[in-house]
């Protein structure tokens, strides 16, 4: 079989089960695909074919992902392998330990294939903030793939990886998934261990799957979810069998459409595609109603206070003392700090560190950080209320627009920040959400819709997303590269 790279993990596992292919065949196929198309997409910061083949020869006897190659976002630690957050300040950094998700993947037989590109330290929505090179959208390489997990989304969309891990702090999995036409899931905060995820904003970050379809999303989530004693914020409740949640129907599911998410200035084609998806689900027996999440308009402001505050502290450790890069010939300690950080961080990282430092500063803390925490609680209450009222999921567009042109927003941080207006509230509340393909623009750009669930109800949003997928074939289309 020469098109193994185009198959989903579930399809490949079936073939592996029948012994009609070997794990090495899959790795060969995916690697040669990457070799032929990654020059255009630039989704990988590095691919380790030899290492992957080596691992494929020493797989555990069984495992949910036995023989499946997975791309890992460059902010998830893999022992002994470069892990740089696409930043110069971590150039050459090889962690001495594996992230818990990497341990879990390995024990389930998955093969780490390569490091997916990203916005530096996950700061961005276009992948243009990578310190190395921007990743491009496989559907139109003059456009951005979204971000910050742009590399992860792009390599899955371009069939350069069977599945990928990303991280989502304000939409960093779901927005690029939507823009690249793949499935991206941000689990409930605490569902997946963050141990080994290089922190951007600790109270918002969550690792999640980027996959070709919903079944693969359920499969990968099941492999990485669960309590971890190394992460005090992970939650100790059992992990359900997500694959068995995929019943194929939405009959009787209560889906809410928040009026605040259909705003002026939203792309007309996106608006139409999402409304069509709503109609389809209604036609299949879902009970659709309008709901209100009244504090939505404050989400972006709250997010850019809290996320930058935490980031300014999380990034303090990159000081040239222990790991990563140190400036040449420092004159004294202050000089070492200033030049190491001045030279090592990109413009967006500096912008966020300065912003975060400012909002935590004495005299400003109450007006910014504390106020933002209070509004964050109100945003969470919004979600609590609608789910308590019996809603199963909330349906929204994932991104207000399809993929934009490279460079179009890079000089205007505010317009860039607005790329995430539909995804940010979910992180602030901590609830899970999934983005699934729901159409294409006339010019052939993917459109995604977002299904948001109640805490730890990943099963429900996977079920609704899967049912939708059963009646559509958006997810089966591939970009021409």
């Amino acid at each position: 079989m020469d098109n193994l790279y185009s198959l989903t993990a579930n399809e490949l596992l079936a073939l592996l089960d029948k012994r009609s292919v070997k794990p090495e065949d899959i790795i060969e196929s995916v690697c040669s695909r990457a070799q032929s198309v990654d020059g255009k997409v630039k989704g990988y910061l590095g691919i380790d074919k030899e290492g992957a083949l080596g691992h494929a020869k020493a797989l555990p006897a069984s495992g949910k992902l036995r023989g499946i190659p997975v791309a890992i976002k460059d902010n998830i630690c893999v022992e002994g392998e470069l892990t740089t957050c696409a930043s110069k300040i971590l150039s050459g950094f090889r962690p001495p330990y594996n992230a818990t998700v990497v341990e879990k993947l390995k024990s389930e037989g998955a093969v780490v294939l390569g490091r997916a590109n990203m916005d530096e330290f996950a700061f961005g929505s276009s992948c243009e903030n990578s310190a190395y090179f921007p990743t491009l959208n496989p559907w139109d390489t003059s456009r951005i793939p979204g971000g910050s997990s742009g590399g992860s989304a792009a390599v899955v969309a371009a069939d350069e990886a069977v599945m990928a891990l990303g991280s989502d702090t304000g939409g960093s999995i779901r927005q690029p998934a939507a823009l690249c036409g793949v499935v991206g899931m941000k689990p409930t905060y605490g569902r997946v261990s963050r141990y080994g995820l290089i922190a951007f904003a600790s109270s918002l970050d969550q690792i999640g799957p980027l996959t070709k379809d919903v079944c693969d999303s359920a499969l990968l989530l099941g492999a990485i979810a669960g309590y971890d004693e190394n992460d005090s914020t992970s939650v100790n409740i059992p992990v359900p069998d997500y694959l068995s949640c995929l019943t194929g129907d939405v009959k009787g599911m209560k889906i809410g459409i928040p009026k605040e998410y259909f705003v002026d200035g939203m792309d007309k084609e996106v608006d139409a595609a999402v409304k069509e998806a709503v109609a389809l689900l209604k036609g299949k027996g879902a009970q659709v109603s309008e709901v209100s999440l009244p504090h939505t308009e404050y989400a972006v402001a709250v997010y850019y206070i809290l996320a930058t505050a935490e980031a300014s502290s999380n990034l303090a450790r990159f000081d040239g003392v222990q790991f990563g890069r140190r400036c040449e010939d420092p004159q004294n300690i202050l000089d070492m700090y200033e030049r190491t950080r001045g030279e090592g961080f990109g413009a967006e990282a500096k912008r966020r560190i300065i912003l975060g430092t400012y909002v935590l500063s004495s005299g400003y803390y109450d007006a910014y950080y504390l106020k933002a925490q209070k509004v964050r609680a109100l945003i969470k209450d919004d979600f609590d209320k609608v789910f308590k009222a019996g809603l199963d999921c909330i349906l929204t567009p994932t991104s207000p627009t399809p993929a934009f042109k490279v460079g179009e927003r890079s000089s205007d941080p505010l317009s860039m920040y607005l790329s995430d207006i539909f995804t940010i509230s979910v992180n602030l509340a901590g609830v899970p959400a999934i983005s699934v393909p729901c159409g294409f623009t006339k010019s052939g750009l993917p459109i995604g819709m977002q299904l948001i669930g109640d805490f730890f109800q990943e099963g429900k949003i996977l079920r609704a997303a899967h049912a939708y997928e059963c009646h559509t074939d958006w997810h089966k289309r591939s970009p021409k590269l």
Binding site: A199, S202, R317, L360
Partner: protein
């Protein structure tokens, strides 16, 4: 003009736990640089802290022992600042909602009890250590200490003299050692103390501008630094020089405090809640069980030694000054029922021996059972108290039982009347003049004869018996 110093102390103690506060690394002292480290305490990218429950429990015990109210919720904050010994660029500490508040420590202030209020007891992690090699153009960092659990105990400014500060520290150390929370060894750095100090005119109630004094590495150093600082501030006040709010370092070699930085250029630590550690409710039953398992604290022990054992206050005070000494004393009570006799020996010969060897009671080779064995030998008359003084030293040196030492060196007291009669007769024969005196009614002459018998027996004779035998033999002569 008379001035009065106003002092508040911030004490940091390293909590005795097997592992560090947020990772599994050992807390053992020493070890080659950076050998007691892991990605978590080195602050590697991606790592997360997990709270050591033992450290939390020790903190709760300490807070309870100084009478603090325990907070219902445990919440950590990040204290952000750049320094090479702080690998994450922030210290996990507690801020506006500390573990506990509003406690007190009573001290003896010149014969009266004075209460020093404790503002708060909270938990935080320690930093690493910078090593500056002489003549080198760079510094080294040792992270072995990094992430060790610390307690910060903050007093209210209730201390009004260097002596009171010294007593407060001594009392705190005593408590912490009773609780087995910390070694409190200032030289090893397991107890550190910073002082906030200002002066005011006697009778005033307001607070003057304070200086923070750091870098004191012994209790005596704290006292000397405060003495110097008071003198400096009084001199400033008298000459009209402005006292500025600043941090000053104690230089123990020159015995002066030196200005380090003024508070105007002080850090803004940008505290915010630590997102990696979710605040959690402290189970009241855990607090209650810690409260119940608190050991008897020094004051209660002292009162009991006086009240139910009948010890003089002085003895009770001395014996409770070290928990190990009190424990030794109490262990003795199991074997021997005269508390005051035990106390005399512990505070006398044994204490002198330990002082001469500069050792603690834990290192003493003679155990409580052995000491009591010796005391029983005295009571039985087998040895004299004077002989026991020699024997106890040999027991301390060798760890042997009293009976073993007595038999191997033939030290046992001569209590055999017929043997003593022989020596008595000799003494009577050799001291005709003294015997005559005695016969004439000079009773004190007998003491001379007793001394002669003791000499002949090389001190081994039972003096009471000698006395009795001599009287009998002399009476027979009449």
């Amino acid at each position: 003009m008379d001035y009065e110093p106003v002092i508040g102390l911030e004490v940091h103690v390293q909590v005795k736990t097997a592992s560090k506060m947020f990772c599994g690394c050992t807390t053992e002292f020493g070890g080659s640089p950076n050998s007691h480290t892991c990605p978590v305490c080195l602050g590697f990218p991606g790592v997360l802290p997990v709270l050591n429950k033992k450290a939390l429990f020790s903190a709760v015990r300490t807070a309870l022992a100084v009478g603090c109210k325990i907070s219902a919720e445990v919440k950590f904050h990040r204290k952000n600042y750049f320094y090479p010994d702080l690998p994450k660029g922030y210290q996990i500490s507690q801020y506006d909602e500390p573990l506990s508040e509003d406690g007190k420590v009573d001290i003896d202030a010149g014969g009266r009890v004075k209460t020093i209020r404790v503002k708060r007891v909270h938990m935080e992690e320690d930093a690493g250590k910078l090593i500056h090699e002489e003549g080198e153009n760079s510094s080294l960092v040792d992270f072995n200490r990094c992430g060790m659990p610390l307690l910060e105990i903050v007093s209210e400014p209730d201390i009004n003299s260097p002596e009171e500060a010294y007593r407060y520290l001594t009392k705190l150390k005593l408590l912490l050692k009773y609780l087995d929370v910390s070694d409190c060894d200032m030289e090893k750095g397991s107890l550190r103390c910073d002082a906030n100090i200002s002066i005011r005119k006697k009778g005033d109630t307001g607070l003057g501008t304070k200086a923070e004094v750091k870098n004191m590495n012994s209790f005596k150093g704290v006292k000397s630094a405060l003495e110097y600082e008071i003198e400096r501030q009084v001199k400033c006040a008298e000459t009209g020089e402005r006292i500025v709010m600043e941090t000053r370092l104690w230089d123990p070699d020159r015995c002066v405090t030196i200005s380090m930085r003024s508070k105007e250029e002080a850090h803004d630590y940008r505290y915010f809640p630590e997102p990696d550690l979710v605040p959690f409710a402290l189970d009241p039953s855990v607090v209650e069980s810690e409260r119940k398992s608190l050991p008897e604290l020094p004051e209660a022990k002292k009162a009991r030694f006086i009240g139910s054992l009948g010890l003089p206050e002085y003895d009770a005070e001395v014996l409770t000054q070290e928990k190990a000494n009190a424990d030794y004393f109490e262990a003795c009570l199991k074997y021997y029922d005269k508390p005051k006799v035990i106390a005399n020996w512990l505070m006398g010969d044994i204490s002198a021996y330990m002082n001469s060897k500069n050792m603690a009671i834990e290192e003493l080779k003679m155990g409580p059972a052995a000491l009591c064995g010796l005391l029983k030998e005295i009571d039985s008359g087998k040895i004299s108290g004077k002989m026991a003084k020699d024997i106890v030293l040999r027991m301390c040196e060798t760890g042997k039982d009293a009976s073993a030492i007595i038999s191997e060196s033939g030290l046992s007291q001569i209590s055999d009347a017929s043997q003593l009669e022989k020596f008595a007769d000799e003494a009577i024969a050799e001291n005709v003049k003294t015997v005559e005196d005695f016969m004439k009614g000079k009773d004190s002459a007998l003491m001379f004869l007793v001394g002669q018998v003791m000499k002949k027996t090389k001190g081994k004779a039972n003096p009471a018996m000698v006395n009795e035998v001599l009287r009998k033999r002399l009476a027979a002569k009449k």
